[in-house]
Symmetry: C2
Subunit: 323 residues, 2 copies
């Protein structure tokens, strides 16, 4: 791909960070713009924490703890232990090195910067040259309704280990929110758009719930590809299966296709699902098959390259049709 | 001493914390009330940091790093290193465990608690049963005027290693400040009052500058003792010598006596100064001599016991005079 590529990636969660780890090695980071879920953001110990923005920043800065999929590599938890001793909540684990990011973000926002500006500043200080955009500077919060209570995403996912049945998911604040500066422009001027293999409901879902973003995905002339986070009828990791089901979607590549059906051009699914296309007959989406399970660094780069070459082929095909 | 003792200690700095470490072993902590300097407090990384309150809290909780004289024992500095990498100031060293205290204090104050309330809450959570009172809930800031600039105490002391000549010292905000709740009552109802071997100008000086505190020290019926932080014409540690000189006071036990002359009953000085009483002829203060250099845990307890027995003798003598 040429240096004029503008690759825009919608992402959130650990699956997204894994894919981004491959992508950053497959193309120059200057070609990459990330539109990141912020509906899992929380106030923690008085600090503004943005888990998905942090994971993307850390992976691009080569600082992500890849065993856990979140936080900073080789981090320690001295402050957390002291917080627990002081009777403060400790179920959301912030490492000592990780804390610096939250302290700086909180300060930047208290000084009057937007989340966009704080995100760009933190990324620059970590030496990240890719562009990281929060989906919105307005506060949007994923709320997971369970039989017992109404939980934030982190309460549902981290504190309660996604063991509760999910009745419904909503994105509080989304109706009145606006996309962060640059988000719609990035989508409209992109050469390719990729939806990372993130949870379609709680990682990509909140991004799509921001008024204007879904419309931009429908309008953009760039081909839009998604990598399925569902393989063989189950999520590769996390609660994507239960969450798809809670929305009345099948827990399969067809469910992923349905979630994105109004704007998706290509669905890249695992070779394990090559024969699971029965449900997709109604869909206009084109399927591509590859190994989507990212175990090694090589798996990640290979997946990124495959996705990019599928998209490049799509661009060539469309160009051929037009001439 | 009986369980009805009410021992009130004015303190600040590393000398104060050392003395308190002995005192807490010499008497039941329930008998102790500390009135602590807050004029070195600073906003750091967006957090509210109270170095002297923390040192007293940590020493009473048996958590103080005694090698340094500040911070938490066995602490690590991962967050600090990351802050430095992010281009944030790192000259004021906050450890990872120490950070928990500042995060909690900042949250408590943001939730509407006063510094007094936050201090009591933090102390209780650390299991401290002695009473720790900030000198004031109003913001008072020690400013050190040097030939080059006007510095905060931490800039002068920590960042610039007290190498600048001192022209003058002032306590910005003191004129309009009030003592924190309980401070004046504690002094007036005390059975004994002790000024720790802290810097008379920048640790005890700000406490005395709060309107009402010096008057309470003059009015209290309790005997007031000070332990001299000056031995053989020099400070045991830190810049007390230069600071006394900047106020036109001699760098000697006589300078300490002069700083406190309107309310001091007993000055407890080191045996090394037993013959340095020439300048004290004008003073009404009574001198007591002991080893004031605290190297071992035993030195600290011995000094505390000696101070308490000097005060007990003073109470008995006064009682005898009255009957």
């Amino acid at each position: 791909m040429s240096s004029e590529n503008k690759i825009v990636v919608l992402t959130g969660g650990t699956g997204g960070a894994k894919f981004v780890d491959g992508l950053r090695r497959a193309v120059p980071p200057e070609q990459l713009t990330f539109i990141v879920n912020t509906a899992d953001d929380l106030e923690w110990w008085g600090l503004r924490v943005s888990p998905d923005l942090d994971s993307i920043t850390y992976v691009l800065a080569d600082l992500l703890n890849k065993d856990r999929g979140w936080g900073v590599q080789d981090d320690t938890f001295q402050c957390l232990q002291m917080m627990a001793r002081l009777g403060q909540p400790a179920w959301f684990q912030i490492g000592d090195r990780d804390l610096a990011t939250h302290l700086l973000r909180t300060q930047l926002i208290q000084e009057g910067n937007t989340l966009s500006e704080a995100t760009a500043e933190i990324a620059a200080r970590f030496g990240v040259t890719a562009r990281i955009l929060p989906m919105s500077n307005d506060r949007i919060e994923t709320r997971v309704q369970t039989p017992a209570s109404d939980l934030s995403f982190e309460e549902y996912f981290v504190q309660r280990h996604f063991r509760d049945p999910v009745i419904s998911v909503r994105f509080a604040g989304a109706e009145t929110a606006a996309p962060a500066p640059g988000v719609v422009d990035a989508l409209l001027s992109a050469t390719t758009v990729i939806l990372a293999p993130s949870n379609p409901i709680t990682s990509i879902g909140p991004i799509l719930a921001v008024p204007g973003i879904r419309e931009a995905l429908c309008r953009t002339s760039a081909p839009v590809a998604a990598i399925s986070p569902i393989v063989s009828g189950a999520a590769v990791s996390g609660p994507a299966g239960a969450l798809l089901a809670s929305q009345g979607l099948p827990v399969s590549i067809a469910g992923v296709a349905q979630a994105y059906e109004d704007f998706l051009d290509l669905l890249i699914a695992d070779v394990a699902d090559r024969n699971a296309t029965e449900e997709l007959r109604q869909s206009r989406v084109k399927m591509r098959w590859t190994n989507t399970i990212m175990k090694s660094a090589n798996d990640k780069v290979e997946l990124a390259r495959t996705v990019l070459s599928c998209l490049a082929a799509e661009i060539s095909r469309e160009a051929a049709v037009e001439t």
